[in-house]
């Protein structure tokens, strides 16, 4: 796919739609808590994507509402969900074996930072006094065949979250292969960030603002 440009920055929904359309048909996918969950709203029935939730299910359906809410059927974010035909349940060790064993095609996660070599930071700010919590983040980061990140490209202070080397504590090393942001989509391969598209910013402007070398797709 060669480099492209749109005048408007992507909204969160745009990003979710773009991730959804990039997921190959028939994939087994885990969507992390937060922004990635929104991707499910843009998956089409034709795509035949199967969702995994690490608390023990394949074939997860949409969020449950009204009378469909069942306390025994929740996703990893502890939100009531539904079950699609062809679903299966399994225990936690089997569920994480499925992930760790590389059986999922795509995992989509949020991030604090990603390095140009694909290192991921998304579990712990490292701030003094912060109580750390990891959940399944480290398992998700390294388990799937492809790990994609959705995040804002800049911090509130305007600093790039795509970095040369992480300043936040590591979640997983060399695991991220794509980054979706409001300003650009990056492909990470062999320590190099390739820009597939920019949105509301030109390639040259982007390159000037980021602390890592970029190449154009």
């Amino acid at each position: 796919m060669s480099y492209s440009y749109t005048a408007a920055a992507l909204t969160r929904d745009d990003m979710a739609e773009m991730v959804a359309s990039d997921i190959p048909a028939g994939s087994f996918v885990n969507l992390g808590i937060g922004q990635p969950t929104n991707v499910s709203n843009y998956l089409t029935a034709d795509q035949g994507v199967t969702l995994h939730t690490e608390n023990g299910m394949l074939g997860m359906g949409p969020v449950a509402t009204g009378g469909d809410i069942d306390g025994d059927l929740i996703n990893a974010g502890k939100i009531p969900v539904t079950e699609l035909p062809g679903a299966s349940y399994f225990h936690h060790a089997d569920s994480f074996a499925m992930m760790r064993g590389g059986h999922l095609d795509v995992c989509v996660l949020g991030a604090f930072q990603v390095s140009q070599t694909g290192d991921l930071a998304n579990w712990h700010t490292g701030a003094p006094g912060a109580i750390p919590a990891v959940g399944g983040a480290m398992d998700l980061a390294i388990g799937a065949k492809s790990t994609w990140v959705m995040m804002g490209l800049f911090t509130k202070a305007g600093e790039s979250k795509l970095v040369e080397a992480l300043s936040y504590p590591v979640t997983g090393l060399g695991c991220v292969s794509r980054i979706y942001t409001e300003s650009a989509i990056f492909l990470i391969e062999d320590g190099t960030a390739t820009v597939r598209s920019t949105h509301g910013i030109s390639f040259d402007e982007l390159a000037a603002r980021l602390p890592v070398g970029l190449q154009r797709a």
């Binding site: 502890k78 225990h91 390294i142």
Partner: protein, 224 residues
């Protein structure tokens, strides 16, 4: 041996002693053995090490055990939540020890304990703060961390149905940690919604064989 059928939750947990390591099933409220946890608090056992995915939420269950300082140490993957205030207070006061474990490593360490595995190399956590001080090894170009089994004195879990032989089936994502925790504890105590006679569960669909179950108590199911 067929499990003991306890008359109520208090009876079920009556053998838990001070200083015990207690596995508690559940992920959020799904599969959480709430009545057994309440009974554990009521029975007065203290100085406990508890293994759960979280470290208590709001003012119920595990959070109350922490509030009452019955717990010396928590081994979990996700202590900090919006409503984990009792844990947060105890932790900041230095009154509870925390061993933070990635969720999949937690599940696999419990499985290893039940399966007689002395340790295993996992890629999860390699190169992170949670691998500090642990043995690591590169295998076929991938970094791995050596993780050890988590054995326990007691497991408190929830299933949907037990037969009188202790065979268990679970319901939907409430299965979560129950089956592995049942294998990792010297004594597994299970609350179920119903107990059926031996033969009442198809042998093909048993998830936890009765060999892993020591005590069963029926707690009337809430409305779903």
């Amino acid at each position: 041996m067929a499990p003991r059928i306890a008359s109520n939750a208090a009876d079920a947990v009556s053998g838990i002693h001070d200083g015990a390591t207690v596995l508690i099933g559940g992920f959020g409220n799904a599969g959480q053995p709430m009545e057994l946890i309440d009974a554990l608090l009521a029975c007065g056992a203290t100085d406990l090490t508890v293994v759960n995915n979280n470290a208590g939420q709001a003012d119920a269950g595990l959070a109350l055990l922490i509030k009452e300082r019955k717990i010396r140490k928590v081994i979990c993957s996700f202590p900090r939540q919006s409503d984990s205030w009792h844990f947060d207070t105890a932790y900041r006061a230095g009154e509870i020890e925390l061993e933070l474990v990635p969720q999949g490593n937690l599940a696999e360490r419990l499985r290893a304990a039940g399966a007689g595995i002395g340790g295993f190399f996992t890629p999860t956590g390699y190169g992170t703060l949670l691998a500090e001080g642990k043995e690591t090894r590169e295998i076929d170009g991938v970094g791995y961390v050596l993780e050890t089994p988590i054995k326990a004195d007691v497991a408190l879990i929830k299933a949907q149905t037990a037969d009188e032989f202790g065979n268990l089936v679970y319901r939907k994502t409430a299965r979560n940690f129950g089956p592995v925790m049942a294998t990792a504890a010297a004594q597994t105590i299970v609350q179920v919604e119903q107990i059926v006679p031996v033969g009442g569960i198809d042998p093909e669909v048993v998830v936890t064989p009765g060999i892993y179950v020591d005590t069963v108590v029926q707690i009337a199911g809430e409305n779903k």
